[in-house]
């Protein structure tokens, strides 16, 4: 499979006078196959947005390179930018005073598309996103979800093969979030586009992404097909079942475990990579006077794996993520798995 995005030894160091340098991205190498939905995960400040912006040519790397379908973003900027459309997080991305139609035509032209092909493409996008009827309304009159749809449509107006979506469902209600999700899926499955999305919504990443990469402190700590990543931790997923409701402050003592209620009982689920930890958690339960109903192995979800991996990366541990014996030989913190 050909690579849509090839990131090679990419790094970004911000230097300021009188303050120590900040390493935003540290020697990142990554290859994203064409036609995939690729999830780029990490806590705030992990380096995801900086990486995305370097791929968009908006931030100059300190070292390394990004190639989009073989075109180097720095050296072949024009051709590289034809490969990409992006919706960046935290900003409007479009002109709110312009109508949806005007925005699409404007951004289409600055991306080098003109005339009838541009109009046909704009119409198709607006119809697919159910915005056609309101194409002549200013974007500022739209709901947040509709505004986000216009931004995505503008990113796609020149029909780029790669789409970068930075937090595409942030701030959207459930319905709008679902529409965007369905559409992202359709872009990859039906149109063969490569979609790279960053998100903090692990359920979204788990259900959408073919592959996920997790970053922590500028480094890549995991990069696997989603199913494989979930499979690696299958043996490490545990559920601790306690009688009654547990207070939040008590649940917080079970680091990396998320609580949920079921039939009046509390279930804490998370990953345990070494057996000693299970006994320590049971000790905590005893000290807190919790009544244990049972301990069971359970498939962890992406959120639990994410928390576990960040935890390991933060502690500087070597990987204990092997599904069979609890240790991955030769693994280092640079790439936890």
């Amino acid at each position: 499979m050909t690579a849509a995005i090839e990131i090679d030894g990419l790094s970004k160091v911000y230097t300021k006078r009188k303050s120590p340098p900040v390493i935003a991205v540290d020697d990142l190498s990554l290859s994203i196959p064409a036609g995939q939905i690729f999830g780029f995960l990490g806590s705030n400040g992990a380096g995801k947005t900086t990486t995305i912006k370097m791929a968009c040519g908006l931030v100059l790397p300190t070292g390394g390179s990004v190639r989009l379908h073989g075109f180097d973003v720095q050296r072949q900027r024009g051709q590289a930018m034809r490969q990409i459309g992006a919706v960046l997080e935290g900003t409007r991305n479009v002109y709110w005073r312009l109508t949806a139609w005007q925005n699409l035509l404007y951004f289409g032209r600055i991306k080098g598309v003109t005339g009838q092909p541009l109009k046909e493409r704009a119409e198709r996008l607006l119809r697919e996103l159910e915005l056609w009827e309101r194409r002549n309304d200013p974007v500022r009159d739209f709901s947040r979800g509709m505004q986000q749809k216009v931004a995505i449509a503008c990113a796609l107006v020149a029909d780029p093969p790669i789409v970068l979506l930075d937090e595409p469902t942030l701030g959207l209600d459930v319905k709008a979030g679902r529409t965007v999700k369905r559409w992202v899926e359709q872009l990859a499955r039906n149109e063969g586009k490569t979609v790279v999305l960053t998100t903090h919504q692990m359920d979204l990443a788990e259900s959408l992404c073919d592959q996920v990469a997790i970053m922590s402190q500028g480094k890549l700590i995991a990069n696997r097909p989603t199913g494989e990543l979930l499979g690696l931790f299958r043996q490490e997923g545990y559920e601790l079942r306690f009688r009654g409701k547990i207070e939040e402050s008590v649940a917080a003592r079970f680091e990396g475990f998320s609580p949920r209620e079921e039939n009046g009982h509390t279930i804490l689920s998370g990953t345990i990579s070494e057996h000693g930890r299970l006994y320590r958690l049971l000790e905590i339960a005893e000290i807190q006077g919790l009544e244990l109903l049972g301990v069971a192995q359970a498939d962890p979800n992406l959120e639990e794996i994410f928390v576990e991996l960040l935890d390991r990366a933060g502690k500087g541990e070597h990987s204990p993520a092997h599904p069979m014996n609890g240790r991955l030989p030769h693994a280092t913190i640079r790439e936890v798995i």
Partner: protein, 262 residues
């Protein structure tokens, strides 16, 4: 060429739509152009301005208003687009950013011509000022604008890197109003101040425009007396320095990761 044309038309269309969306602001600005000019003229002439003085003042004042618009577009305009994220979208265009920025500048000039032109017509008719504009004035006007936009590029570049340059932009707008000869011909300033004023953008342009429009001089005459040569040199320096400074600032903003910061 076709690409540049598309970019310019695209930007002009957008500017027109935005202008109309903010029409209250547009008409207020037009009123302000007229009101301030009338006020200043009466003040400077002790309440009795004569048409000849008004015509001279109007030429300088209108050029200053172009400066106001150019500085505003390149500083506040860029800052606003940084906040909305549309600037980053522009930088993701496969087209050369130089072409896009030139397109924006030409669109900005086009809108300013519309606004200042309409105000000028109203002022000429209302005050009975004679302003015999001929085609000879066009190259002089374009040269003046080239220097002015070069200067605006300097402020635009500073906006990309430093973000808040309002104080500098305000100061420059006022410096230009008082020192570029818009209100008071620079030859009436003290020697050192006149020398400084002549280094500013638009000063030499106003001198040559007055000679061409009000004194009826030809291009050959203003070339021979050296004033047009001075304008060419002044505008070329501002345009080249402004352009390269802007491109340098773009690179610096990319290095600092500051293109989208505000």
């Amino acid at each position: 060429m076709a690409l540049a044309g598309t970019v310019v038309v695209n930007e002009i269309q957008k500017r027109f739509i935005l202008l109309w969306a903010y029409k209250f602001n547009f008409f207020t600005q037009m009123f302000m152009i007229g009101f301030i000019f009338v006020g200043i003229s009466f003040f400077m002439a002790g309440g009795q301005p004569n048409p000849e003085m008004l015509a001279s003042g109007l030429v300088g004042y209108l050029v200053w208003f172009f400066a106001l618009a150019a500085i505003s577009d390149m500083s506040w305009g860029i800052r606003e687009e940084t906040q909305t994220g549309t600037l980053e979208q522009m930088y993701m265009s496969p087209l050369p950013t130089g072409v896009l920025m030139l397109g924006r500048s030409i669109a900005s000039l086009f809108i300013s011509i519309l606004m200042v032109g309409m105000s000028a017509v109203v002022l000429v008719l209302a005050l009975g000022v004679s302003l015999p504009i001929t085609w000879t004035a066009l190259p002089v006007f374009l040269l003046t604008m080239a220097g002015l936009y070069g200067f605006a590029f300097i402020l635009g570049g500073a906006t990309l890197v430093f973000k808040q340059v309002e104080a500098l932009a305000n100061m420059m707008q006022n410096v230009l109003l008082f020192l570029n000869g818009a209100l008071l011909p620079v030859d009436r300033l003290p020697g050192w101040m006149e020398a400084f004023a002549k280094t500013l953008p638009t000063t030499q342009g106003i001198i040559v425009l007055r000679r061409v429009i009000l004194d009826g001089q030809s291009l050959a005459q203003v070339w021979q007396d050296g004033s047009l040569v001075g304008l060419v040199i002044n505008s070329a320096i501002y345009f080249v320095v402004g352009w390269f400074f802007f491109r340098w600032c773009e690179n610096r903003a990319r290095r600092l990761g500051a293109l989208g910061q505000y």
